[in-house]
């Protein structure tokens, strides 16, 4: 089962060294996470810039796709696999 957040949901993230999330607050629960993969997209600067760092993170029993909006500085949840 997978849920896509549209629009992406704002997240509270506790960042460790190098800005990598160590824990996130998801649905009111704070969980430690591990980063599985990370990549970056920088797109569509011509009409509406998008500059995000995506991370696939695992928590207790779930996998989530979150991103760090490098323009606003906010963290968002885009998809969760449970």
């Amino acid at each position: 089962m997978t849920r896509v957040m549209r629009p992406a949901t704002a997240l509270r993230v506790h960042e460790g060294a190098a800005g990598i999330p160590e824990s996130i607050e998801l649905f009111g629960v704070v969980s430690n996470v591990q980063v599985v993969e990370r990549w970056r997209i920088s797109e569509r600067w011509w009409p509406q810039p998008i500059d995000r760092e995506y991370l696939r993170v695992t928590g207790p029993g779930w996998l989530a796709l979150i991103f760090h909006d490098l323009l606003s500085g906010g963290w968002f949840l885009e998809r969760i696999y449970d």
């Binding site: 990370r38 990549w39 920088s42 011509w46 009409p47 760092e53």
Partner: protein, 1137 residues
């Protein structure tokens, strides 16, 4: 947190510059500067299929003391090991337009951009790669050189792969690489790029075995140990897995890894420009690029600590780069091999042979000899020996001598004219002693750059000269120099506009408004226009920057970046060692020539010497005219032997009767000649030098014109300048004068005076200027006792001039050719006209203007005729001489002058236009027609012509409409009717055309003649309107010559429209009627109102105010209207609608 990585010696070994042409944004200098800022331990410039940035890069790196390496990223034409599944070389896609539109979740998906090239991996000419993503090309392999041996190997490898393919498509075969590395073992480091190597493609597809096999093949080629696998921090989804795969493979194969950011720009802020360049390269706006856009977010140069912060495990891969860079030792200096070998007699040095050839030339050039001559020869020979240029002079002399032996007109131009040695060797035709020229302007020991020798050849035979040089020294030793076409204001505006998807018409309008070349001032220029000012502030996007502001910003950023390579018009390099090891070569666009990937500045920096073999149309015209004269009258005039004092020549020059004359035919020249009235060669030299944009902009022209006309007394900034500026009436006009001022007034040595001249003419900082000023002023005070204030003022005058100075030697060479062309035009007008028509395109005027000018001088010009015309325009005995115009400014030699020139028989010849002038027929077909006529006699009918020549229907129709078949006595429309029958696939006997066909009228014939031949030699178009024009009070152009200032109206054919930047918006027209050519001026404020008519029609009625300056008349237009067909009617009311 990056501090812990600062000890790792990281060098970036895969940086691309703008010399990857639209694939990267930074200049080599910008990359070096950024690398130094980032503390890199070295930098390798690795452009795609190109070494064009190499020389600039090495120079910049040496200046910054940064270890520098050079590489090339090759596209491979084949896989290293068999590629049965098409993993390495992508299969060709279906053609554009064939793809189906996919629908997903009810939304139509945008189709991918389609590749527009021919099927994959063919070595085809002109492969069109627009719309082809990098991943769709062959796999990549980087070859890296660390020292000069490696550089030579790299240049040779690139040259070989380039010469196997077409321009801009470097495709390297593994077999060629194998072959090359056997010849140059251990010369190159091979790097398998992370993203697009065969290894990466195989790993990405899960083909580990194939990847390993490819690694083993490449390692075997590279001699194991010099193949490296690359890790790049692209930050793309899925890369982590691929990076692990590459690292594991390297470990399994015991190969070293290198770390890289694979940058395409120096700074992060260049990302938008990179996308714009990608859009330009693919001919698509950015929003339609899709996967063609470089996907990674960060494409800029990065420091080792920054890279290692994201990938701490890469420290050994980063250290490996530093290790490689530590061995970098590339110095590009090929002075010792710069000349192709000249055959010298045994035991004779090049300097001795040069001295021998120079002395052999003395009796012909200076029969009277003299001590001054001997002194000058000795001085020049000594300077040539000290600079080691004897072979260069011998080479130039040999090329010119061989050309003359083959009947090809050749003459040196430019500063070589300052050398008496060049004159004695026959390279130039200008006597430097007669013209008081300074050798040091051409060559001196203080010069960092080598001298330029430019030789002009008859334009139609220039390629023969290049072929002869190629044959003489061998194809591996000779190549043409390239030029880099860089972005300037208009090209930047148009290309960036395309990339941003801006409306093409608006962008084009904006581009047309740009006058400065520099694209960094596009915004400033357009903001001055109220409409554009508003537009630039409109359409604000979410980023707060309007789309048009973004356009302006990107135009600024793209300014000066290279767009593509082109072939230099004549620059050629010949070297003793194989040239393809010294500099990379590639095919020209047409595939016939080898062209260097270096431009003339690079060649100079490499200390190679370039020779300019240029084509000059006037030499073709003169040669052809002389050939025709020799054929018709049995004697070939010796133009070299013409004395300078020929009265009719100076009469014609002073009357501006110079249409078709080299250098002094333009409207600006024609306006000034009646005021300056040159009467001797020195005057003509000045005339050639002064009517140019530079002097006009520098306000040097009017003082000279006023002094020539006696309206202003001749004064000198200082009495010590009188001997130097006497010949130009106190005005500084020549570069040689600047040097003489520096020598004679400020006490400079001749060599230092040339350094001073060049320093004054280039962009200088305030500090540099102050140093020059101090040295000049101090020198003038001590040398001639000039007051400090006077010396400072003189310095400022020299500085103002220096930016547009002209070499007198160059002007003198052109003036002599101008003089000879005036003489030919006066004494052999028919032959000269035939020569000019043959040499087209050239000169200021179209063929029809030349023809009607010759008619006004009494030359009969016959139309194209299938039974009389030769393949090319020629002369034939005239039935009758044409009438000479009553224009008092037309100069005709007197009988006595003709007798003196021996040209009495010339008047009995007319011009016959050639069959090749008929558009769509061409010279080859014309020659075939003439050959058949020679074999089988005159053509008797259309049917006879069609049968014997098998001409296609289209050619027959063109010949009929051009009037070439009028000789058959049938009306043109009837012939067209018949042509359709005889030209049919099934031959039909020609039938009689229906009687009711409307005959071709005079206007229709005129339009056909202009459309198909470029001119109607029997009628100037305005003659058709003349009756109606006369009745409505419209004057002829010739009558304006004697008319008083005041209102006037003329009509004419528009020959030229000029809007020089120096004229502040004023537009100048040249309008021709059957009596002459008039100057029409449109003031800047009237141009918006009148331009509609000027741009929409070529036959114009112009009303305005006639202004006179001495003998020069100008009509300042107030109203302009097109002449129409209806206006021809007898009772038409020609008016301004």
């Amino acid at each position: 947190m990056t501090d812990r990585f600062t000890d790792v010696p990281f060098a970036e070994l895969h940086a691309k510059s703008a010399f990857s042409f639209l694939r990267a944004t930074a200049t080599p200098e910008a990359l070096v500067a950024r690398a130094v800022e980032l503390g890199l331990h070295g930098l390798a410039l690795v452009d795609e299929g190109s070494l064009s940035g190499a020389v600039r890069f090495i120079r910049a790196a040496q200046a910054a003391q940064l270890p520098a390496l050079l590489g090339v990223e090759f596209e491979m034409a084949d896989p290293a090991v068999p590629d049965i599944d098409g993993i390495v070389l992508p299969l060709p896609r279906s053609r554009a337009g064939d793809s189906e539109v996919a629908v997903l979740d009810g939304v139509a998906q945008q189709p991918l951009p389609q590749r527009q090239r021919r099927p994959l991996n063919e070595l085809v000419p002109h492969a069109d790669r627009r719309g082809v993503a990098d991943a769709e090309l062959g796999p990549r392999l980087v070859a890296l050189a660390t020292d000069e041996r490696g550089y030579r190997s790299l240049a040779r490898l690139l040259s070989r792969s380039n010469l196997e393919a077409s321009k801009g498509v470097t495709r390297l075969r593994h077999a060629l690489l194998d072959d090359h590395l056997r010849e140059y073992p251990s010369s190159l480091i091979l790097i398998a790029p992370f993203d697009e190597s065969e290894i990466a493609r195989r790993l990405a597809a899960g083909d580990r075995a194939g990847a390993r096999a490819a690694v083993e093949r490449l390692a075997a080629l590279a001699l194991r140990g010099s193949l490296h696998l690359e890790l790049v921090d692209r930050q793309l989804r899925g890369d982590a897995w691929l990076l692990d795969e590459v690292a594991a493979l390297a470990a399994r194969c015991s190969l070293p890894l290198i770390a890289s950011a694979a940058p395409r720009s120096a700074l992060p802020s260049e990302r938008e420009l990179l996308d714009a360049l990608t859009g330009i390269r693919h001919g698509l706006p950015i929003h339609r690029l899709g996967p063609l856009r470089f996907p990674q977010a960060e494409t800029h140069l990065r420091s080792g600590p920054e890279l290692l912060a994201a990938h701490p495990a890469w420290s050994s891969a980063a250290a490996q780069t530093g290790l490689i860079a530590a061995g970098a030792d590339i110095h590009l200096d090929f002075a010792r091999v710069r000349f192709a070998g000249i055959d010298l007699p045994s035991g004779v040095s090049a300097d001795q042979e040069l001295a021998r050839q120079v002395q052999a030339g003395v009796p012909r050039r200076y029969p009277e000899g003299g001590a001054e001559l001997e002194r000058r020869i000795a001085g020049e020979l000594a300077a040539i020996e000290r600079t080691g240029l004897a072979e260069f002079f011998l080479l130039c002399a040999e090329i010119v001598r061989d050309a003359h032996a083959d009947g090809i007109a050749a003459q040196g131009r430019g500063s070589a004219g300052d050398s008496v040695i060049a004159y004695l060797l026959g390279i130039t035709r200008v006597d430097p002693i007669r013209h008081n020229l300074i050798f040091e302007r051409f060559l001196n020991e203080g010069r960092e750059s080598y001298p330029d020798v430019d030789v002009d050849f008859a334009s139609d035979r220039r390629d023969e000269v290049i072929d002869a040089v190629l044959q003489r020294f061998g194809p591996r030793h000779v190549a043409l120099v390239c030029t880099f076409i860089t972005y300037r204001s208009r090209s930047a505006a148009r290309d960036v506009g395309l990339a941003l998807g801006l409306p093409e018409a608006l962008v084009d309008e904006g581009a047309r408004k740009l006058e400065a070349h520099d694209s960094s001032v596009v915004g400033a220029q357009l903001a001055a226009d109220p409409r554009w000012g508003a537009l630039l502030r409109s359409n604000i996007s979410a980023s707060g920057e309007t789309l048009w502001e973004r356009w302006v910003r990107l135009c600024d950023e793209i300014d000066g970046l290279p767009r593509h390579r082109s072939m230099h018009p004549g620059g050629i390099v010949a070297t003793a060692e194989p040239l393809d090891e010294l500099a990379p070569v590639e095919r020209s666009s047409d595939g016939t020539r080898a062209v260097l990937q270096f431009d003339k500045h690079d060649i100079e920096a490499l200390k190679l010497v370039k020779l300019d073999l240029l084509g000059l149309g006037i030499l073709t015209a003169i040669t052809d005219a002389l050939d025709l004269i020799a054929r018709d009258v049995g004697a070939r005039p010796d133009l070299d032997a013409l004395p300078e004092e020929i009265a009719e020549v100076w009469r014609a020059v002073g009357a501006a009767d110079t249409i078709g004359v080299f250098q002094i035919e333009s409207r600006a020249q024609q306006q000034s000649l009646p005021r300056t009235k040159p009467v001797k060669m020195d005057d003509l030299v000045a005339q050639v030098a002064i009517i140019r944009p530079g002097p006009i902009q520098g306000n040097a022209v009017h003082p000279y014109l006023r002094r020539r006309a006696g309206l202003e007394s001749v004064t000198y900034p200082h009495q010590s300048l009188a001997p130097i500026l006497d010949e130009t009436l106190g005005v500084i006009l020549y570069q040689e004068q600047v040097m003489r001022i520096a020598i004679e007034v400020a006490g400079f040595t001749p060599g230092a005076s040339d350094v001073f001249r060049r320093a004054m003419g280039s962009a200088r900082s305030e500090r540099e200027m102050e140093l020059l000023r101090t040295r000049f002023v101090d020198g003038a005070i001590s040398t001639v006792g000039m007051r400090a204030a006077d010396a400072t003022e003189l310095f400022e005058r020299v500085a103002a001039f220096a930016s547009f100075g002209f070499a007198k030697s160059h002007a003198a060479a052109f003036a002599r050719t101008a003089f000879e062309s005036v003489w030919l035009r006066l004494h052999y007008p028919a032959h000269y006209l035939a020569g000019l028509i043959r040499a087209q395109p050239m000169g200021f005027y179209p063929v029809e203007a030349l023809i009607h000018d010759a008619r006004r001088h009494g030359v009969t010009v016959q139309p194209v005729c299938i039974n009389r015309s030769a393949a090319r325009t020629s002369t034939e005995p005239a039935q009758a001489r044409g009438a000479i115009s009553s224009d008092p400014f037309i100069v005709i030699p007197t009988t006595a002058e003709r007798a003196a020139a021996g040209s009495e028989h010339a008047l009995s010849y007319a011009v016959r236009l050639g069959l090749n002038l008929v558009r769509g027929v061409g010279t080859r077909t014309a020659e075939r027609i003439v050959a058949e006529r020679t074999r089988g006699g005159d053509f008797r009918s259309l049917d006879d012509l069609a049968r014997r020549t098998q001409l296609p229907l289209s050619a027959l129709e063109r010949l009929i409409r051009a009037g070439a078949l009028d000789t058959f006595g049938a009306e043109r429309r009837a012939l067209l009717w018949q042509a359709a029958e005889v030209g049919a696939e099934i031959a039909l006997p020609p039938s009689t055309a229906p009687a009711h066909l409307t005959p071709v009228d005079r206007l229709e014939a005129l339009i056909d003649a202009h459309g198909l031949v470029g001119a109607d030699p029997t009628m100037q178009p305005i003659e058709l309107w003349r009756d109606a024009l006369t009745r409505t009070g419209t004057a002829t152009v010739a009558s304006l010559r004697q008319r008083a200032a005041g209102p006037a109206r003329i009509a004419g054919l528009l020959l030229s429209r000029q809007q020089p930047p120096t004229a502040h918006g004023t537009v100048f027209l040249a309008l021709e009627d059957e009596t002459g050519i008039a100057n029409v001026t449109i003031r800047a404020r009237d141009w918006p109102r009148l331009r509609g008519a000027v741009r929409s029609a070529s036959l114009l009625l112009v009303e305005g105010e006639l202004q006179r300056t001495g003998e020069v008349a100008n009509l300042v237009a107030t109203r302009i209207a097109p002449l129409t067909r209806a206006d021809i009617k007898r009772y038409a009311r020609i008016s301004f609608r």
